[in-house]
């Protein structure tokens, strides 16, 4: 199984649109995962039928038993996350969103009034799509542990469909916890960028993060014709960094139409964007062939 993650650094560059099109186009058996767990959108293009769901238990969080609490305030002093609240004349309470689950309050409470309780912070869904199984998730809005949930989503996909040729991941934006969890153990990352100063800045940062994990790095430039001089700058930078630019997709209103229709853009015929993604796909396929040969 070759593991490919589509990521971006900057949000909204077209990761999900490209992932869905690649799911349709790439040959061989495929399992998909949406690792942008706090704003998961891949399901909106792949029309999945849910086979089963399972609860995701995040970190345990602290709960104070008001019957045992002596209101001494020691827990509040020691909590580094500002998660213990105390209104005048009211008992001490744990703010479930701020609590990171460290259990320091349990340790310091002289009245043994604090315990750690499991909490469901999301749902993992295992679904059927036209192009393979999809593992996706829903994080309870405001819940933490998105990196842990990403890990659980990947694990489910790799265990359930370990004999697939490809594991295709729609990744999160950013460079922090969920992104690092997404790219760890991945063979190839495809970074989708756009010709803007923000796009270039974020591309450089996310590539630097990827370099710490040593996957093969590829770039695609979406809406490349909106600011051609910046597209050129991005290409020059990629050349210097020896990163292949395997696709350049033009701005095309058909992309938005296909999102509104809930289908991959490559489904709707021969629009300029669809044609460009077909070229991207054949270049990616070439990369996969090299990768398989090298592995042998």
């Amino acid at each position: 199984m070759i593991r490919i993650a589509v990521i971006s650094g900057k949000g909204g560059t077209g990761k999900t649109m490209i992932t869905a099109a690649l799911a349709q186009l790439l040959p061989g058996s495929l399992v998909l995962a949406d690792c942008d767990v706090d704003a998961a959108n891949l399901e909106l293009l792949l029309n999945p039928k849910i086979i089963r769901t399972e609860p995701f238990m995040g970190m345990k969080t602290a709960v104070i038993d008001p019957a045992l609490c002596t209101q001494c305030g020691v827990c509040m002093e020691h909590c580094r996350f500002g998660a213990i609240e105390h209104d005048v004349d009211e008992a001490y309470r744990v703010h479930p969103i701020r609590c990171e689950g460290c259990a320091v309050c349990v340790h310091v409470c002289p009245a043994a009034a604090v315990t750690m309780q499991p909490r469901q912070t999301g749902v993992i869904m295992y679904s059927e799509t036209e192009w393979g199984h999809l593992v996706h998730a829903r994080l309870v809005p405001g819940a933490g542990n998105s990196g842990l949930l990403v890990h659980a989503v990947k694990k489910t996909a790799m265990e359930q469909d370990r004999n697939c040729d490809l594991f295709l991941i729609d990744g999160p934006p950013g460079t922090g916890c969920p992104l690092i969890s997404t790219i760890s153990g991945v063979d190839i990352v495809l970074v989708v960028t756009e010709p803007s100063v923000s796009g270039l800045h974020d591309l450089k940062r996310v590539v630097a993060v990827c370099r710490q994990f040593r996957p093969r790095i590829l770039v695609a430039i979406n809406r490349f014709d909106l600011e051609e001089s910046l597209t050129e700058t991005i290409q020059l930078w990629c050349n210097e960094e020896k990163i292949p630019v395997i696709g350049k997709i033009p701005f095309d209103p058909v992309v938005i139409e296909s999102v509104r229709n809930g289908v991959p853009v490559t489904r709707t015929g021969t629009s300029p964007a669809a044609q460009a993604i077909q070229i991207l796909e054949s270049n990616l396929n070439e990369e996969l062939r090299h990768y398989r040969d090298q592995r042998k």
Binding site: S8, G9, K10, G11, G12, T16, D38, A39, N41, L44, M59, K60, H78, R80, F81, I97, R98, E100, G101, C102, A103, V104, H107, V108, M116, L139, P141, G142, A143, G144, S146, P172, P173, G174, T175, G176, C177, P178, I180, E194, P195, S196, V197, S198, G199, H201, D202, R205, A208, V209, Q212, L226, E227, L230, F251, P253, I256, V259, R260, G262
Partner: protein, 282 residues
Amino acid sequence: MKLAVASGKGGTGKSMVAANLAYTLSQTESVTLIDCDVEEPNLHLFFPASVTTTDVTVPVPVVDETACQHCGVCEDFCQFGAMTVLSNRVLFFPELCHSCGGCTLVCPSDAIREVPKRIGTTSISTPLPHLKLISGMLDIGDPHAVPIIRAAKKLAADDPTIICDTAPGTSCPVIETLDGCDACILVTESTPFGLHDLRLAVDVAGRLGIPVGVVINRSDGKDQATLEFCMDHDLEVMMTIPFEREIAAIQSRGDLLCRVRPEWQKAFTALFIKCSALAGGD
């Protein structure tokens, strides 16, 4: 007033709205703009200026191996799996550590103390006479965005008008940014992606008790589903920015709509007045 600009979905134009709002307000009053998208901060690209940079550190444990009995109490206690105790030494995984201080409290041999570890920076600049820009930036490869956001917000202290640009998503970095804000602008685009994530963002702000209003960006006129959602949830659409290649190009080059086309300042002033009304509970 402390205002957050958020979205759920990435790339809807949060930074664009935050930057133009701050630019417009700074023509007449003092504004503090905070880039809380510390994983991929961009606002400094729109406001080049010389900056004063400070390291952001978090406390992490160091084990005194001469005092350590290798009893394993710290490993048992650590909820994040950041300590592994071998028979003759202790392995510490800083990327898993949440800096709670628990290991130092539980160690029976007093063998653990905490030292500061750098995870990123905050930068302050004054790109315009009445504009203070604070940018948080997470170091490459570090997973801990939240302490940087906390540090960046702290630098603004009690400045009278604060605008926080937020990371995409709905998890920890977004919560940390929204926490303590008086109102929140949610920037969306009229696609099923935009609406799906707007719904999540409204939910998050609601859980934190923060009033929200909506800005529709890159509108191609097909905003019906978004408008219906806003009406059903009693959300005001405070501003609609049309899709125009030229507006997109201004942003792509790192310029500001309100600087290139000053006539837009009126719309951003009106947006701010609506946000003040939101915050005031009107």
